[in-house]
Subunit: 362 residues, 2 copies
């Protein structure tokens, strides 16, 4: 691909860039005349026409029909984006704003992601996506059991990812405090560090033996553990600002938009797509570069958020192929950075956020 880029003369690059940006702006095919006017180069529309004809032959542009201007092809967008990625800068002022917003809403990762999705949407005017990806191996690091009433108790579990989960468990028989204490002790001793598929029947039976007459507690309790593991494992996705998309004429085909919506809602395809990405930096999928069919007229920009080398979330933006890549790349970069700094930095965010004592430090 970069080999091809070499072939482009500076003038072609400038024309391509101008055209892409004009099309992103207006959404309609761009003609030679327009480019002549909004371009630093001093040459006539005829010259530009010739260049455009060549750019089309090289695959960077597409002509919807003979008597129309030209539109960037996917290759054209790709070139534009690639030439952009190296150079997008951070406006530190905005970063601080994002930081503050996110910290105000601080909480567990789930809520941060949700807020971030809304943020991404409102800042870009496209659809924001926040994803908690499928994590293949969650384990528990600590158990605690609390009684609620005579038939119910709650299991509190701290996961290897550092999040806290609770499950309510109802039991036919009566629940005694003493039994619960033993249950917690037992789980802490036997189940910590085990992943879902390592909790096998023999282990469960062993637990039941150890519990003696209170063995009936084990089964529902273990089930809760399983459930929590699956919840975390399952991945989840939050969309916001879907309505923004409808402003763009590329989504005016109701049928098509409905399919897109359905796919987004069912989540699994996007989750797979994102989870399988190996690129830890910003990913940009332009049109048919995405394996998801209904997204072939859209572009998806996303970036994983890492903590200790593990992906704990993904923030992204979905919009028309002619999305404002410059802005989107920048926004996503800023947001993910903010989240990382909040999560990584072990600063007690609770207190800082509380009193607004944020001194601009990282």
């Amino acid at each position: 691909m970069s080999a091809k880029n070499q072939e482009l003369s500076e003038r072609k690059k400038l024309i391509l860039k101008t055209l892409v940006e004009a099309h992103i702006e207006g959404g309609e095919p761009v003609g030679s005349k327009y480019i002549m006017q909004n371009n630093l180069l001093s040459c006539s529309s005829a010259t530009i026409r010739n260049e455009m004809a060549e750019l089309e032959q090289m695959g960077y542009l597409v002509q919807p029909h003979t008597s129309a201007g030209r539109v960037p092809s996917e290759l054209g967008y790709r070139f534009y984006v690639d030439s952009l990625v190296e150079q997008y800068a951070k406006t530190s002022r905005e970063v601080v704003q994002i930081n503050q917003l996110l910290k105000a809403k601080m909480a567990e990762i789930d809520q941060i992601l949700d807020t971030a999705s809304r943020l991404a949407s409102s800042m870009t005017n496209y659809t924001g996506i926040a994803i908690k990806p499928k994590a293949s191996s969650v384990t528990m690091t600590k158990f605690e059991v609390v009684s609620i009433d005579e038939h119910t108790f709650a299991m509190l579990m701290i996961t290897s990812a550092g999040t806290v989960k609770t499950k309510k468990v109802k039991i036919l028989g009566e629940v005694r405090e003493e039994s619960l204490r033993r249950l917690a002790e037992l789980f802490n001793g036997c189940l910590c560090g085990l992943s879902a598929d390592m909790i096998t029947l023999p282990i469960i039976m062993e637990l039941e033996n150890a519990m003696g007459e209170d063995a009936y507690l084990i089964n529902p309790a273990v089930k809760s553990v399983y459930e929590v593991m699956n919840e975390i494992d399952g991945g989840e996705m939050r969309l916001s600002g879907i309505n923004h998309l409808l402003k763009y004429p590329e989504y005016s085909d109701t049928q098509e938009f409905g399919q897109l919506l359905g796919t987004l809602e069912s989540q699994d395809e996007i989750l797979d797509l994102v989870s399988n990405s190996e690129n830890d930096d910003i990913n940009v999928l332009i049109g048919s570069e995405s394996p998801v069919k209904v997204m072939n007229n859209s572009s998806l920009v996303f970036k994983p958020i890492k903590k200790n080398g593990r992906t704990i979330g993904v923030i992204g933006v979905l919009g028309p192929r002619r999305m404002n890549y410059k802005q989107v790349l920048q926004t996503i970069g800023e947001i993910t950075e903010s989240i990382s700094s909040i999560i990584d930095g072990e600063a007690p965010i609770n207190e800082l956020a509380e009193k607004g004592e944020y001194h601009g430090g990282e």
Copy 2:
């Protein structure tokens, strides 16, 4: 309103009913000829035309233009729905199915509602809505504190609604087990049964005094309590199957649909609407009966779910004005009933669901 119904002759009722159902089915204006064919009455189209003209004058029907058939007005739908409400029956077979689906996904109310929303959507082919309404006064009934690492601990709270909530709290200084135990004790003693606005500064200061040298724990801990109360209080809404709506031509205006989507996403208007409803049975808002402007071309059917007299959730369906009220009323009724029976019945759902040992009771 019921006075007006009296005025309708049996034949008019039958014609109205046939017309409404035909329009729900096909979405297009219904002519006298069609009604003549699909009607048990034996009279000519001319007679029906006369009746229809009268029905229009009475406000039950509307003519899009002179040379078209007729369409039910909101009053027409209202009459149809009202005459329906008394008589919709339960297909017990379906109830059992719903029960099983919900129990399989059993868990806290949040998850049940989410599942129910999906269920409502897939069963009706409209958009399913699940709402956790704004609850004005939540209190805590029990606190538990668990240490996570030297700077972090988790607060577990059981709310008056019976749900379990956790919050992670980070502290600048070090966290000692002993301090946490005292913190829990203190909170259980002083904060149980208090609503958010009853936790005043004097109380907090008293807590700080009681904690002595560990007073620095109080502030962030109390903040977590506040947060939990607000989270619960805040209300939340889950939509599913928005894409279904796009199948109906009444949502083909992209602009309008976008606005609807935006309103739905921002949640607050719908939350207000639902929270303020005083009708504990099934609510049916037809078109402009809803105070939300963008929903004036839609209908909203919803029903609160009660536990001990408190509304703990709302399940609903949003669709075009010509929604299939019969089916929707029935489905919503069934789903809410299922949820109620699961929540009310203190049966240990965990175990039943696990082994599929559901013997069709209830």
